[in-house]
C-alpha cells in the first residue's frame, strides 16, 4: 500500500459512552470505518443516530457528558486518542477541519470575512501578511466566488447563506487539511444554493487532496456526492458500502426502510380535483414598506384537494400562509371563501372564519407553549368552538386518538415528545375547530424522513376522512410532487408556474421551475 492509498482517517471499534440515565448506554457503539484521500464518505442517519457525536469525537470536541470508552481514531499514521489537548489543537485546522451546518453562525459577525480567513493562516502558517491576503483571495476565488475582493471585505451579515458557506469552506481549506468533516453542510441552504455547494464538494473530491466525511440526513445529498455511504442507527453503523450498492441494493432492513421513506419523485396520477373552489385568491399583494413580498397572487384551492406552494426562502410563501390565517394584514386583493372576502372579516365573522381555516406550523419545538400540557393546548382550541370543559376534554382525547397519540399524552407537556409527535399535537390542535382548510407551513421540513413520511400519511388520511382542503407550503419539490393535486411555484412573490404535479415536474415551462427541479438533490426522476 503506497502512502497515497493509506486512509486519511481510520476509526476502529470506537464507542462513546453516554452518561448514566440516558436512553441508551452508548451514543456511538463499536464503529469502524476509513476515509481515503479523494473520496467522500457520507454518514447517514436520522436525528439521535449518533452521527454528530461521532464527527465531534473525531474533531476532538466531545460534548460534555460523553466519554470515549473504547476504540481508536487515527489521522493518517497518528493516533488522535492519546494526544494532549495542545497537540490536538494544532492538528485541528492544520490537518483536519470542520464545516458546520449553519454557515452564518460559524462566522464571527463582528469581523470581516477576509480577516477571519487570514486569521486561520496567521495561526497555522508563517506567511507574511501580504501572502496571507493573496491566499485568502485565491481561496475565495477557488470557491467560485465571483468577486473575492468584495466578499473578503464584507461582514458576514452582508453575504447570502451560500456565500457564507463558501467562505466557511474556504476557511476550512486554508491550510490544506487532509480530512474535511462537513456536518450537514447544505441543510440550512435553499435547493439551488445547495446544488451549487454540492458541486463544489464534487470539485474538491476530484482534486484528490482531501478525504471528506460528510454527515447528512438527506439521501438526495448522498446520491449526489457520495462515493461510499455508512448508514447509522442507534449509534451503530448498520451498513457501509459503495453508494450504488446502498441506494439500489440495500441489504440491511433499516437502510431499505430509509430509502423507501424518500418522497416519491414521480407523482402517482391523481384524478383532477372535482370539487368546487373552497378558497380563491385574487390579486393578493403584500409589501413591507418598499419591499413587495407578494405580487398579484391568483390561486384556487379546490374542496378536498391539496395545493402545494413551492418556493425558496424569501419567495413569500410563509407570508402568504400568515395572510390567510389573518396573522398579518394584506395590502390588496381578495381571498374569497364562499363569496366572503377572508381579508375583510371582522368581529364575530372573523372568529367564525378562524375556526374554518387553521394552520400547522413549521417548527414542532416552537409551536407549542412549553408551559401547558397537551390537554390544555388542544382543549383551549376545542373550547373556542363552544364546548364546555367536559366536552372539550372528550374532544381532545378523540383528537389525540385521531392523530395517533395515546391518551396518556393528555397530561404531559410538549417537552416529553419527539418532533414528529409534537407535529401530531399541532395537527390535533388545528383540527380542534373542525376546519375546512388546513394550511401546513413547511410542516414536515424539520422532521426526519421516516417521520416525515408518517406525518404526510396522516395528513392524507385526515384529508380523505374529513374532506379537508390543504394548502401545503414547502421548499421541497419531492414532497410537493408526492402529495399534491396542484403545484404552484412561487419566486420573488410571484406565481411563475402552476398546474398538476406531473405537468409541473415533468414538463416545466418556466426556467425557474426547471432550475429547481435540476437542483433537487438526487434528481427528481
Amino acid at each position: 500500500m503506497t502512502a497515497l492509498d493509506a486512509p486519511v482517517l481510520t476509526v476502529r471499534g470506537l464507542s462513546l459512552a453516554l452518561p448514566k440515565g440516558a436512553d441508551r448506554p452508548f451514543a456511538v457503539e463499536d464503529v469502524s470505518f476509513e476515509v481515503r484521500r479523494g473520496e467522500i464518505l457520507c454518514l447517514v442517519g436520522e436525528s439521535g443516530s449518533g452521527k454528530t457525536a461521532l464527527s465531534h469525537a473525531i474533531m476532538g470536541a466531545l460534548p460534555a457528558g460523553l466519554k470515549r470508552s473504547a476504540g481508536e481514531i487515527r489521522l493518517g499514521d497518528r493516533s488522535l486518542t492519546d494526544l494532549s489537548a495542545k497537540d490536538l489543537r494544532r492538528l485541528r485546522g492544520d490537518r483536519m477541519a470542520m464545516i458546520p451546518q449553519e454557515p452564518i453562525a460559524a462566522l464571527n459577525p463582528s469581523i470581516r470575512v477576509g480577516r477571519q480567513i487570514e486569521e486561520v493562516l496567521e495561526l497555522h502558517t508563517r506567511m507574511t501578511p501580504a501572502a496571507r491576503r493573496e491566499r485568502c483571495l485565491s481561496l475565495l476565488a477557488a470557491m467560485k466566488i465571483a468577486d473575492p475582493e468584495r466578499v473578503a471585505g464584507s461582514w458576514p451579515h452582508q453575504l447570502s447563506g451560500g456565500q457564507c458557506q463558501r467562505a466557511v469552506i474556504a476557511m476550512a481549506l486554508a491550510v490544506h487539511p487532509d480530512l474535511l468533516i462537513a456536518d450537514e453542510p447544505t441543510t440550512a441552504l435553499d435547493v439551488t444554493t445547495q446544488a451549487q455547494i454540492l458541486t463544489l464538494f464534487g470539485d474538491l473530491r476530484a482534486r484528490g487532496d482531501h478525504g471528506i466525511l460528510m454527515v447528512t440526513h438527506d439521501f438526495g445529498v448522498v446520491a449526489e456526492v457520495a462515493d461510499r455511504v455508512a448508514v447509522m442507527r442507534h449509534g451503530q453503523i448498520v451498513e457501509i458500502g459503495p453508494v450504488d450498492d446502498i441506494l439500489k441494493r440495500p441489504t440491511h432492513p433499516y437502510s431499505r426502510q430509509l430509502i423507501d421513506c424518500l418522497p416519491r419523485a414521480t407523482p402517482e396520477p391523481r384524478p383532477a380535483p372535482a370539487g368546487d373552489a373552497v378558497l380563491s385568491l385574487q390579486k393578493v399583494c403584500k409589501s413591507y414598506g418598499q419591499r413587495q413580498i407578494l405580487k398579484d397572487i391568483d390561486l384556487t384551492l379546490q374542496r378536498g384537494s391539496t395545493l402545494s406552494i413551492v418556493g425558496e426562502s424569501g419567495s413569500g410563501k410563509s407570508t402568504l400562509a400568515r395572510l390567510l390565517v389573518r396573522l398579518t394584514a394584506c395590502n390588496a386583493g381578495q381571498a374569497l371563501m364562499e363569496g366572503e372576502d377572508l381579508f375583510d372579516l371582522r368581529g364575530a365573522a372573523l372568529q367564525r372564519m378562524r375556526g374554518r381555516v387553521q394552520m400547522v406550523f413549521q417548527d414542532p419545538y416552537g409551536a407549542l407553549n412549553p408551559r401547558r400540557t397537551v390537554g390544555e393546548i388542544i382543549g383551549r382550541a376545542a373550547r373556542l368552538t363552544g364546548l364546555d370543559a367536559k366536552g372539550a376534554k372528550a374532544r381532545t382525547l378523540e383528537l389525540l386518538g385521531l392523530v395517533g397519540l395515546p391518551a396518556e399524552a393528555y397530561d404531559r407537556r410538549p417537552a416529553a415528545f419527539s418532533g414528529g409527535q409534537r407535529q401530531r399535537i399541532g395537527i390535533a390542535r388545528a383540527l380542534a375547530t373542525n376546519p375546512e382548510i388546513l394550511i401546513a407551513d413547511e410542516s414536515v421540513s424539520a422532521l426526519d424522513v421516516s417521520i416525515q413520511a408518517q406525518i404526510l400519511e396522516l395528513l392524507q388520511s385526515l384529508q380523505t376522512r374529513f374532506g379537508l382542503s390543504i394548502l401545503f407550503i414547502t421548499h421541497d419539490l419531492r414532497v410537493a410532487g408526492q402529495i399534491s393535486d396542484t403545484i404552484a411555484v412561487l419566486k420573488d412573490g410571484e406565481v411563475v408556474e402552476s398546474g398538476p404535479p406531473q405537468a409541473v415536474l415533468h414538463s416545466p415551462v418556466h426556467p425557474y421551475t426547471r432550475a429547481l427541479i435540476q437542483a433537487s438533490p438526487g434528481g427528481l426522476a
Binding site: R326, M359, F361, Q362, G366, A367, N369, R372, R429
Partner: protein
Amino acid sequence: MTRLWKSPTVAVGALIVGAWILVAILAPWLSPQDPLKSLTPLALPGGTGPQGQTLWLGADLLGRDILSRLIWGARPVLLLATLATGCAYLLGVTTGLIAGYVGGWTDEILSFVANVVLSFPVLVLYIVVIVSFGASPVNVVLAVTFGSAPAVFRIVRAVTVDIAARDYVAASRAQGEPAWRILLQDILPNAAPALTVDFCLRLAYSAITIGALGFLGLGLPPPAPDWGGMVSEGRALAFAFPHLVLFPCLAIASLALGLSLIADGLQADRDSR
C-alpha cells in the same frame, strides 16, 4: 424546586431571609424590651438597664434597647419592601405586557413615559414624591413603586416582544383566542422565569431604598423603630458609639445580601438549564 435548595447560594440566602421573616413575625415574643421605652441612654452592647436587664446590643441616644428596635424594625422594612415591589410588578407587568404585545402607538407612549421616569435619578424621584405627599408608609410604597415600575416595564416589554413572535402565540391568535388569554396563558408563564430573578433583586433594592429613605428622614415617622432612621439618629455619635449605627447597618445589609443570594442562585439555575 428541590434542586434549587441544593444550591448553597440559594440555601444561605433563604436562611438569612427566612430568619428575618421569622423575627418579624415573632417580634412581640422575641423582643426582650419595649422598643419605645427609655432605659439607659447610650448603654454599650452587653450593658444593663435600670432593672438589671441585659441590653445585648446596647441602647440608643434616648436609652431605647437597640436589639428590640432591630427586631421590631424588621416588620416595616419587610412589609413595605414586599408591598412596594409587588405594586411595581403589578404596574410594570401589566403595562409591559400590553406595550410588548400590542405595539404601535400604545408601545410608543408607554415606553416614552417609562423612559422619562427612568431618566430621573431614583433618589431624587423618591424625595420629590415623599416631600410632596408627606412621609408615611403608604407614600413610601408609592414612591418605590413609581421608581421601580418603569424598570420592570422595560424588562417585561422586551420579553413579551420576544415571546409574542413565537409560533405558539401565532397559533393561539390564528385560533381566535382573545388577547388577554394569550397574554395570561402563553406569554406571562413563559416570561416568568426571567422575572423571578429580577423580582428577588428588586426586593433587595427596595429594602435598601427603604433604609435610605429612613436615613433621609423620609421613612416612617418617629418614634417607630426603623432601621434607616436608627442609622440616621446615631450618625452624629457614630465615632464614639459605633454600635448605634453598626447593628442597623448590618441588619439592612444582611437582608439585602440574603435576597441577592437567592436571586443569584435562581439565575445560575436558569443558566444551567
